[in-house]
Every structure is written in C-alpha cells, then in structure tokens.
C-alpha cells in the first residue's frame, strides 16, 4: 500500500520509437503514469503491448534499436530523458533496480552469485565489499533461500531457476532502491516455484517500503502483487484503476476480453468403454538418458476422440514420455501399443504407416517451421511424403488444410513463416501435423508461448479438429488452466512417475493426491487475497503436520 502521497515516478506523454530495417516507427504512443512511494503498479498486456519498453524507460533506458522520442520521465524530481548519461547511470542499480524475466540468462555465468549481488552496492559506494557481502547473506536469508550463508558462493548454473529468481530480487534490493522494475519475474517458472518467488518478492517490497512496477501478462499474478493496475494494448494505455476495482468491474471492452479468456471450457467426454482398444497405450515404460533414468514404469492409455492432458513441472518426464511414443527415445523397458499392436521402440524400425499415424505439434512454432520454406512447402511436404499426392491434387489438399485451420489459402499459401504472427505459425504447425492424416497427435506445450487470447483460439481450433476427425490428443502442459479448458482425462506426473490419473472432473474435485493438490492450489486465482490465504493455509497445514508428527 502507498505509504505517503509523495509521487516518486511520473511519466508524461511517453513516446518510444523502435527501428526495424532503418525505419523508425512508434511503438509506445504517449503513456502517462504516476507512482507513489511504496506503491506497486501492475503493468499488464499481451506481447507487443510495450510493457517492458515502458518499464525500462522508467530507468531512462532503452534497448538497442529503440529511442525515447517524446514525453518526460521524472524520477524524484530528476527528468531522466534530458539528464546526462552520468546522472542516469548514478541512479541505476542504486535508486532504481531491475529484475529480469529469466534469471538464468540474466545472471552472468562467469561470476559467483555473491559477486553479482554485491556489485551495485560496491560500485555505487553504498557499502564496502565485506559489508555488502554480509548484507547479501542477510537478504538471502530474508528471501528464504536455502543455505543463505553458502548459496552466494555458487555459480548461477549450480542453483535452480526459482532460487536464481529470488537471488535476483536480493540483488535488486542490495542498494535498498526506491523503485524496482519487475519484468515478468515468474513467467519462466513452474506454478509451485512461482508461489515461493511471488511471496518472496512481496515480502521484500513490503519490508523495505520499495515502490515497484510489476510487469506481467498474467492477470492472476498481478492481482496478488499490485495496488493498482494499468492495462496496455499495442503501446496505448487502455484503462487504469485500483486492483480490486479493476478486477471487479473492468470498464473497457479489451480489459473485459482479457478477463474472460479463462472462460473457455469444452465439456468433458465420457470415458471410452473398457472393451475399446486405445489408440495409444503406454505400457509400463521405463526410459533413461544414458545412466539417468527419467521415466519409471509409466502407463496410460489414450482413446479415440479423447484428449489426455499430461501435466507436471519441468523435469517431470512429460516430454520424455512423448519422445518414447514417437520412437525418438527407445524405452529401456516396456512397450508402446498402437491400436493394440506393438510399435518398434526405435522410429527407424517403424512402418511408414505407423510413422504417419503419430504426429507432433511443438511448443515453439518459431523454431519448428523452416524459415526458408513457404507455407506451400511446409504443409505440402507431408502430403507428398505420406500420401503420395502431387501437382494439382496436392495443391487442393494444402488449400483444404488451410481452410480447416481458418487461414485464407490465397492469402497465406505463398508466405514465409517470418510473415506470420505467433498464433498463425502455430496454426501452420497444426496443419502440418494434420496433413499426414494421423489418428493421434502429440501437442507439446503448444499454447505456452502464446498470449492468452491467441492461445484460446488455438485451443478452440484443436477442439474443433478433434470433433471433425475423431483425433486422439496427448496434450503436454504445465498450465492447469489449459487442462481445465480442453482435457477429458488427466495424467499427473512427478519425477518420472505417474502420480495420479483419471477423468478431468475427478481430478479437479478433492480429495487429491498430495502432489496434485499442491499443483492445483498453486495456480494463481483472480482474487487479490488468494496468495495471502494460500500462504496462511499452507502454514497452518504445515504446523498441523508437524504437531501430528509430535
């Protein structure tokens, strides 16, 4: 909450231009914002909204290829856009600090954490090196990093992602800045880790009365963190209000549409009759990378026309299971059955037809499409390869597929992937999988790189295609909102084992397996009190467990 009414940061009519191919075009079109001391402002919007650009501009900083072309940024009486490089540099790190999206990439791999966490304080002569080290260890403790005395003396690659993100908050705190810019600090983390980081950030901000700009695309997260929310769309402010007001009664159409994204939910289909042979059956599969076993005796079935969501945190073995099904990673034990027939463990030994029947859609549509090929070739290749169609028939088939994925054939058939948006690229990925006319498609985190509105479109398309062609989907995801939206059955994985499996309706209804419960309860909700309540609940539960142990 705002401690005083004193305005710390004031941005007026901020315009920022970006350069692409030697042409400058405006990407932020006049944004105003005020931030009081000790206040947390949430900046939300989809990708391309200009959130990060504005966040950096609050430090008087622009990335290479960007420039501030108009407006003012006044921090505690200092106008940053007109001040000297030296003045701005003196503020950065000391009075305004930054917490980046990917801590793993933002910590320098060549230096120990403690060297990086004390760097600002020592450089700006706030503390001596030894004072700064003591202070950093103290911050590590406050932010509840394990082993605070020693963790700083490790290199970034020796520490987990969630811990790094917390260490980065400690790094930002080192000079006790007046303002911290948090740029999507939890986006790259698993839900269970996200909670710890959110709690740590909020504690730190409250303890030191630091003002913050919290940038995210996740509404539920911003609801926990911010006192006030500013919604952005393509470099324009849409709406600004107190968090509770904004959540309760959004005024603008765009804000309402953002709020409504999580409403898509298709009805769950009944379980397939037990006598029906599943399309794909994973039968007691164990798999290893070298000597490291990553899947332990995993079994699940996927029936025709059904979607089985495989959920779990990173490292739980979801993608490895998919690699076993596709034959990229032959299992050390167990078999994969396709329509009751045993598949060769190695894809190189599988029949043409089996290869055709199992297709994949990937997480990063950007890297999964050959940037030098036109859509015609990307979609046409499997048609020719698996179905042997050529010339006019192939062309007709490509056009029919583009129709099915709701892209206008005449407009898109000769484009290159670079000429498509993220959602359109993912649609092409779907068309390529469909082109082989498979019975079974593995969707590996297909929506996690997309904005929520776009992701919803992809989910709807996948649901429609499933109904049209009676496809079976294995839907790998860590996002439980997606599971709620599209799954019929759910398989929960942890550390290479299946922890719980069953129809979706049962999975989301208690009682759960302890891990499923942890996973489900960790998904942020659009209630500003959710984090407080959850932490309180967990603390009480923890106390209970302890006392029961005594």
């Amino acid at each position: 909450m705002a401690d005083t009414d004193e305005i710390l940061l004031s941005i007026r009519g901020l315009k920022i231009e970006g350069r692409s191919e030697e042409v400058w075009s405006e990407i932020v079109h006049g944004v105003d914002l005020d931030l009081h001391r000790g206040e947390v402002l949430g900046l939300i919007g989809e990708s391309g909204a200009g959130k990060s650009t504005i966040g950096l501009a609050a430090m008087g900083f622009t990335r290479d290829g960007c420039r501030i072309s108009g407006g003012t940024v006044t921090f505690d009486g200092i106008e940053l856009t007109r001040s000297s490089v030296r003045t701005r540099r003196a503020l950065r790190g000391k009075r305004i600090a930054y917490v980046a999206q990917s801590a793993a990439a933002s910590f320098n791999p060549a230096h120990r954490l403690i060297d990086q966490c004390t760097e600002s304080a020592v450089h700006h002569h706030v503390m001596s090196r030894s004072e700064a080290e003591h202070d950093a260890i103290d911050l590590f403790r406050r932010i509840q990093l394990p082993d605070p005395e020693d963790i700083g003396f490790r290199y970034p690659h020796q520490v987990s992602g969630g811990q790094l993100q917390r260490a980065m908050t400690a790094m930002a705190m080192s000079c006790r800045p007046d303002l911290i810019i948090f740029d999507e600090p939890t986006t790259a983390l698993d839900v269970t880790t996200q909670i710890e980081v959110l709690a740590a950030i909020r504690d730190a901000v409250e303890q030191f009365g630091t003002a913050a700009i919290y940038i995210t695309h996740d509404l539920a997260v911003v609801a926990q963190m911010a006192d006030r929310i500013l919604v952005l769309l393509k470099g324009d402010p849409v709406e600004e209000a107190d968090t509770r007001t904004m959540l309760a009664e959004p005024q603008e159409e765009y804000t309402k549409s953002l709020w409504a994204v999580r409403s898509f939910k298709r009805p769950e289909k009944p379980l397939a009759p037990p006598e029906e042979t599943p399309v794909v059956s994973v039968d007691h599969v164990t798999a290893a990378y070298g000597t490291l076993t990553v899947l332990h005796d995993v079994s699940f079935d996927i029936h025709r026309g059904r979607t089985v969501a495989v959920v779990g945190e990173s490292g739980s073995g979801k993608s490895t299971a998919a690699r076993c099904i596709t034959g990229l990673l032959p299992p050390t034990e167990g078999t994969i059955l396709f329509n009751g027939e045993e598949l060769a463990a190695d894809y190189r030994k599988r029949s043409w037809d089996h290869l055709r029947q199992i297709q994949m859609i990937y997480q990063m549509a950007d890297t999964a499409l050959n940037p030098k090929q036109r859509i015609r070739d990307i979609v046409g290749r499997p048609i020719e390869f698996y179905l042997g169609l050529k010339g006019k028939k192939k062309e007709e088939r490509i056009r029919a597929l583009l129709d099915q994925i709701e892209l206008e054939p005449d407009d898109f058939i000769d484009r290159l992937p670079a000429e498509l948006s993220g959602g359109q690229k993912q649609r092409i990925g779907i068309a390529r999988a469909l082109a082989a006319e498979p019975e079974f498609i593995i969707c590996d985190e297909v929506t996690s790189a997309l904005d929520q509105l776009v992701a919803e479109g992809i989910l709807k398309l996948l649901a429609k295609l499933q109904d049209d062609f009676n496809l079976a989907y294995m839907f790998i995801t860590h996002d439980l909102a997606t599971v709620k939206a599209i799954a019929d059955e759910v398989v929960v994985m942890k550390e290479g084992k299946v922890v719980e499996a069953g129809p979706k309706s049962e999975m989301f209804r208690p009682p759960h397996h302890a891990y499923t419960d942890l996973l489900l309860s960790s998904v942020p909700e659009m209630d500003p009190d959710w984090l407080d309540n959850l932490l309180k609940e967990r603390e009480e539960a923890g106390v209970k467990i302890e006392s029961a142990g005594n």
Partner: protein
C-alpha cells in the same frame, strides 16, 4: 580439479596420437621424394660400390619400417641423428636455432597479444565509430600484404630512412640481451603486424557477440559504465574463442617465421629449414617438421585446457 586433470590427460593422449600420425606422414613424405639420398649426396660420378657402402653407413639399406622405428625412437629421446650435409648432431644444430626462434616468437607475442586484445576491447567499446573503423582498416591492411613486403617496408622506413633499427638481425650467443632486443625489433614488429589483425578481430567479434545477452543488459542496468561492463561481464565469457585464436597465432609465430627469418637473416629454425631443404639435408628437415608439429599440438592443448579452466560451468559441476 580432478576433472581438469583427467581432461588434460585425455587431451595429452590425443595429442600424442596426433603426433604419431604426423610423424608417419613426415616420414612417408620424405620417403616418397624421388631419387636416392646417397646418390644425391655423392654425386653422379660415384661408383655403385661407394654408393652402396654409403647407403649402408646411413642405414638406407634397411626396410623403411625399421628405419621409421629407429628414427621415432631416437626422436623420442631427443636424438634426431646426424645431419647429412655436415655430419653434425642434429639435436645440437637445432638447439640454439630453436631457442632463437622461441625468443623471437616470445618477443613478438609480448607485443602482439596485449596489443591485439587491447585494441579488440577498445574496438568493441567504441564499436562503429571512426576509431573502430580505422583500427580495422589498419590491421586488415597489414595482414593483407605478404610478410616479406611488410618486412621490406619496415626496413625501408625504420632502417634505411630513419636508421633507428638494424635491417639485419644477426645475433649469436655472445650478443647481450639489450642488443638482441634492438636487433630483433624489426622481425618482431613484422610478425606483430601479421598476427594482430586476426586476434584483434576475434576479440572484438567475441565481445560484441555477447553484448545482446540479458546479463549484459543487467550489468548496464546496475549503472556500470561501458568499460566495466565489457571488461568484467563480457570478457570472461568471451575468453574461450579468444584463447583459441591466440594459441593458433602463437603456433604460427613459431612455425610461420620462415620468410621473416630469411628476410632478416635471423639464425632461427625457419632459416635452418630453408637451408636444409636446398641442401637436401633430409634428416634435418624431418626433425624441424616434427618440432613444428609438437609446437602446434602443444599450443592447441594449452588453449583447450585454458578454455575449460576459464569456464565455471565445466570447472564447477552441479
């Protein structure tokens, strides 16, 4: 630490194997040269008997494989045999020459490496300014001219016109160090001009390549000035490619000096090699080639080890 030791041993083993392959190639190449060695040395007028006797004395009548084993065994213990031209011990012949060549290489390296890395860092710091461009133009032009041309230009300017440095680097054991350094300055400068561009451009490119990394942005957002960002945050992560290029150039400073040594009449290994080739002194040529191979392998080994030693990911396991 154990990890590093294991790795060094592995690389060393690999290096020895490479050396073995190289020795086979050197030996076979010499073996394939047309004409008979004894005949060449004795001349056309020698009788078949004297030629046969000489062949026996040189051991040329033994099968190639036996001669190879003998040669390799000798080389491994530092005994390269005798020179065919004057009958002196090759080890002795090469000893002082090698020392001279190493001295020249070290001289050039001491100037070139700090210069190249320093200029590379400055060019990265002031990238796309007139400073960056002029350094690039200067180093690129100096590498574009043949070595002997650069050498003659330097002689013309610094020796003939200015008269600051001697044009001939004729040193011997009794030359005092200071005098040596003055006499060797022009060859060292020539070599410096030849190797600087490569190292400087790699340093610049390796640093600039990293400037888009999120941790560099983080360093800038901590309020660090550009020179600290580059020295402390970019350089440690760019060391591996820079070290590799330096090692390659160091090896070149030793093995590629032939032309420079000849131009400045410097009594080094390169000149010995050229003399021996023209005299068909095969055993000396073999020995020189083998030493050059050892130098290359050694420097690459050092580069590998240093690249790993400067990478915390490889040095400190999880």
């Amino acid at each position: 630490m154990q990890l590093i030791l294991k790795m060094i041993l592995q690389r060393l083993g690999l290096g020895l194997f490479t050396l073995f392959v190289v020795s086979v190639i050197i030996f076979s190449a010499v073996e394939l040269l047309p004409g008979d060695l004894a005949q060449e040395i004795l001349g056309q007028s020698a009788t078949p008997e004297t030629v046969a006797a000489f062949r026996h004395e040189l051991g040329l009548d033994k099968p190639a494989i036996v001669r190879y084993m003998e040669w390799l065994g000798g080389a491994a213990t530092g005994d390269f045999g005798k020179s065919l031209a004057n009958g002196r011990e090759i080890a002795e012949l090469i000893g002082t020459r090698l020392a001279n060549t190493l001295l020249l290489a070290a001289y050039a390296a001491v100037i070139a490496i700090p210069l190249a890395v320093g200029l590379g860092l400055l060019a990265a710091l002031y990238r796309n300014t007139w400073f960056d461009r002029s350094i690039n133009i200067f180093t690129l032009s100096s590498i574009s001219f043949p070595e002997f041309f650069v050498a003659y230009i330097l002689i013309l300017w610094l020796s003939v016109h200015a008269g600051v440095f001697p044009s001939i680097a004729n040193i011997n054991e009794s030359t005092p160090l200071w005098d040596r350094l003055i006499r060797m300055f022009l060859p060292a400068l020539t070599l410096t001009l030849v190797v600087t561009a490569h190292m400087m451009r790699m340093t610049r490119a390796a640093i600039i390549n990293l400037l888009a990394a999120p941790y560099i942005e983080m360093a800038r957002l901590k309020g660090l000035p550009p020179r600290v960002v580059i020295l402390k945050h970019a350089l440690p992560n760019a060391l591996a490619p820079i070290i590799n290029v330096i090692a390659l150039n160091m090896a070149y400073l030793i093995t590629g000096v032939v032309v420079v040594e000849v131009v400045f009449v410097y009594p080094g290994l390169g000149q010995l090699l050229v003399d021996s080739v023209s005299k068909r002194d095969i055993t000396v040529v073999q020995a020189c080639c083998l030493i050059f191979a050892v130098v290359y392998i050694l420097f690459n080994l050092i580069a590998d080890v240093l690249s790993i030693a400067t990478n915390p990911r490889l040095l400190h396991k999880k």
